[in-house]
């Protein structure tokens, strides 16, 4: 996983609440057996109509095409557990989503892929959207080391983040490797279970 430390980039405003994972990547694109290549289908229904780009969609407009930060409204990523949603964002080039709230599974999935979800109050998100609308030279900085978003004006806005997840993200660590270090604790749990609940059934087909 690519580490996330600090990112200075163009931010795209998407002033919508309840952006569900079917909107981020519709189910018909989930037939891939790879993690890559989904960026072209990101926000398919919002982005295209009859095979053509919709000029009213933010990521089809300049200067937002190369945006690496997305700002949205409440409950971003609600719906299905498909990790194809952060994969599609990442493949398009989005490394950070800022919103007043995220659905739990999507929020989890972001961290596994080096995408940083930043939770900030609705009023702040609206302010950042205004910043983003200032044009091509207006860039936001998201600094995970110092846990601040820096506005084009230089004003810094602090955000909170889970320390363990921050650690994994800053260092690009694979959490399976972390858990593997606890293999003996897992084996101990299994042995105790077999002892205390010998009736616990296994699955054999």
């Amino acid at each position: 996983m690519q580490p996330f430390t600090t990112l200075t980039a163009i931010a795209a405003p998407l002033p919508m609440a309840n952006v569900d994972t079917d909107k981020i990547i519709p189910a018909r694109f989930l037939k891939t057996i790879k993690r890559t290549g989904l960026g072209v289908h990101l926000f398919d229904a919002l982005r295209y109509q009859g095979g053509e780009e919709r000029p009213d969609f933010v990521l089809n407009q300049e200067p937002y095409r190369p945006a690496e930060i997305l700002i949205a409204h409440e409950n971003f990523g609600c719906g299905s557990s498909r990790e194809h949603a952060p994969w599609a964002l990442l493949d398009f080039g989005i490394r950070c989503v800022i919103a007043p709230g995220f659905a739990d599974i999507f929020h989890n999935n972001c961290f596994k892929n080096g995408v940083l979800p930043v939770v900030l109050p609705r009023a702040v998100c609206d302010q950042l959207m205004d910043d983003a609308r200032m044009g091509g030279n207006a860039r936001l900085t998201v600094d995970l080391v110092r846990q601040v978003v820096v506005r084009p004006s230089g004003e810094e806005i602090a955000f909170k983040i889970d320390p363990f997840r921050r650690h994994l993200l800053l260092n690009g660590l694979d959490d399976i490797g972390q858990t593997m270090q606890r293999a003996s604790a897992i084996a101990g749990f299994e042995a105790a279970r077999t002892q205390s609940k010998p009736w616990w059934p296994g699955i054999q087909v």
Binding site: P15, M16, A17, N18, D20, D22, K23, P26, A27, R28, L30, K31, T32, I33, K34, R35, A45, H73, E74, N75, C78, G79, S80, S81, R82, E83, P86, G101, A103, D104, I105, N108, N109, K112, N113, D162, P163, F164, D175, I176, Q178, T179, M180, R182, A183, A185, I186, G188, F189, E190, R193, K197, W199, W200, P201, G202, I203, Q204, V205
Partner: protein
């Protein structure tokens, strides 16, 4: 300290605690399907890791598979076929138990878990699918995970998680005739909203929940994710134990008795504290239908389409306009005047034998309205066989319904069962998002009985008026 059902499920699975409170949580059952697993198995292969506990894992195909009889010969859509073949290759390579398409036990992953006795009280159950919350109905902690976590569970049989908050949803009163578990859960989502449960595990309790059969409880828990909750749970009781007794993968004989003894310790202790409490009296509840493009946009069938002009918040108003525009509805229009093109009865929400019986009761002696395509898709091969033994397929076919093979079908646009752009569907599924049932398709969520009523009249209908 008095513990909730969730606290007990959580505490009994903590393998280790990290400094910041993150837990290594042991997972008892891992359900695997073709869509969210290929990249996880590939990850194992690249790292040279085995599946730690194949005997705690079960795989099945459901999302991609066609529901026509020809599927036994071959899956025609190439990408779907590749995804199914990839799963078959992976389960063979890693030694994971698997119900193939030809096996009568094949079906939607959230139908077959409880049906086979694989999902049991007191367990932690995960699957790379958000509707894993369904299994909470047996008194298990069951939740959906992403593909990276699928790989994590395959490799370690654990997950790194922080505990959720406790929410109690107490459903009281008497459920009126013609009003079902689906209507109850739609009403709950309408009340708390699509993000109302974020960060919480919802425990459903109260006399109405106690009075539901297991199918109804599964319908309720299934849609917990639609309220944003991590999971839904219902305390196991005699109804649960009787449901589980004798199921193929459940403990048998003495082992079953010992298991029940343990399962009786799981319900929340008297005086247990919840972070959030919601109460809903359903004595006056009507059958519910969704009118918009998220599951909180629901109303009783007797209502009219809402008017955005009456909404104060600008963003809310814009969202409502967008929903009405997508759904092609007019403010003030009566819900019962909305004509429908397609009826879909099935899915992990309502694809059980009880749901098919409810539909058959409504359509018996009636016929599907002209121009309406109506389909019933059993949730598993076992459900299909049972329905056929009861003669339900005959009633439904004679009424003009299609009777199909088990799978996710038209709940999501991933297999040949899809809405065409502009088509309007009365659907027993769980999500009414834009394009969910097919690009440009319009979804009205409702109960199986209400879907059956819409099929015979050709428009949204209060099933109680057909009686």
């Amino acid at each position: 300290m008095a513990k909730t059902l969730f606290d007990k499920l959580w505490d009994s699975h903590v393998v280790d605690r990290l400094e910041d409170g993150t837990c290594v949580l042991y997972i008892d059952r891992h359900l695997v399907h073709e869509v969210t697993s290929p990249q996880a198995f590939e990850g194992l292969r690249l790292a040279g890791r085995p599946v730690r506990r194949p005997d705690a894992t079960i795989a099945v195909v459901d999302h991609n598979c066609p529901t026509d009889e020809d599927r036994r010969v071959a899956i025609k859509e190439e990408e779907s076929r590749i995804q199914v073949e990839t799963l078959e290759h992976n389960v063979a390579e890693f030694g994971v138990p698997y119900f193939p398409l030809q096996d009568i036990r094949q079906g939607i992953v959230h139908i077959i878990g409880p049906e086979q006795g694989i999902s049991l009280p007191g367990m932690t159950i995960v699957c790379g699918d958000s509707h894993t919350s369904t299994h909470g109905a047996v008194g298990a902690l069951a939740f959906g995970i992403g593909t990276s976590e699928v790989e994590h569970v395959l490799a370690t049989q654990t997950l790194l998680q922080k505990p959720a908050k406790n929410m109690l949803v107490e459903v009281t009163g008497t459920l009126p005739a013609g009003v079902t578990a689906k209507d109850v859960v739609l009403a709950i989502i309408g009340k708390i909203g699509t993000a109302g449960g974020t960060g919480h595990v919802i425990e459903y309790a109260g006399e109405v929940i106690r009075g539901l059969d297991m199918a109804g409880r599964m319908t309720v828990c299934n849609m917990s994710i639609e309220a944003g909750a991590r999971a839904g749970v219902i305390a196991p009781d005699e109804t649960t134990f009787e449901y589980i007794r004798g199921r193929p993968f459940a403990p048998q004989g003495d082992a079953f008795d010992r298991a029940v003894e343990y399962w009786r310790t799981l319900p929340s202790d008297p005086g247990a504290q919840y972070d959030t409490v919601v109460r809903l009296d359903v004595s006056d509840l009507s059958p519910m239908v969704s009118w918009g493009t998220n599951p909180e946009a629901v109303l009783p069938i007797g209502a009219t389409v809402p008017d955005p002009a009456a909404v104060e918040d600008e963003a809310d108003q814009a969202q409502m306009r967008r929903m009405l525009d997508y759904m092609a509805l007019t403010p003030g229009q009566r819900l019962t005047d909305i004509p429908i093109d397609v009826v879909f009865i099935g899915s992990c929400t309502n694809g059980r034998i009880e749901d098919i019986r409810a539909a058959a009761r409504v359509v018996k002696g009636r016929h599907v309205a002209p121009g309406v395509r109506a389909m019933v898709v059993p949730g598993s091969g076992v459900v299909k066989q049972q329905a056929e033994q009861e003669g339900l397929d005959r009633i439904l076919r004679e009424a003009g319904f299609e009777w199909r093979e088990a799978g996710c079908s038209m709940c999501l646009g991933m297999n040949p069962d899809r809405l065409k752009p502009g088509q309007r569907c009365a659907s027993t599924s769980n999500r009414n998002f834009e394009g969910r049932q097919g690009q440009g398709g319009r979804t009205h969520l409702l109960s199986p009985a209400m879907a059956a009523a819409a099929a015979v009249t050709g428009h949204l209908t209060d099933v109680r008026e057909l009686a």
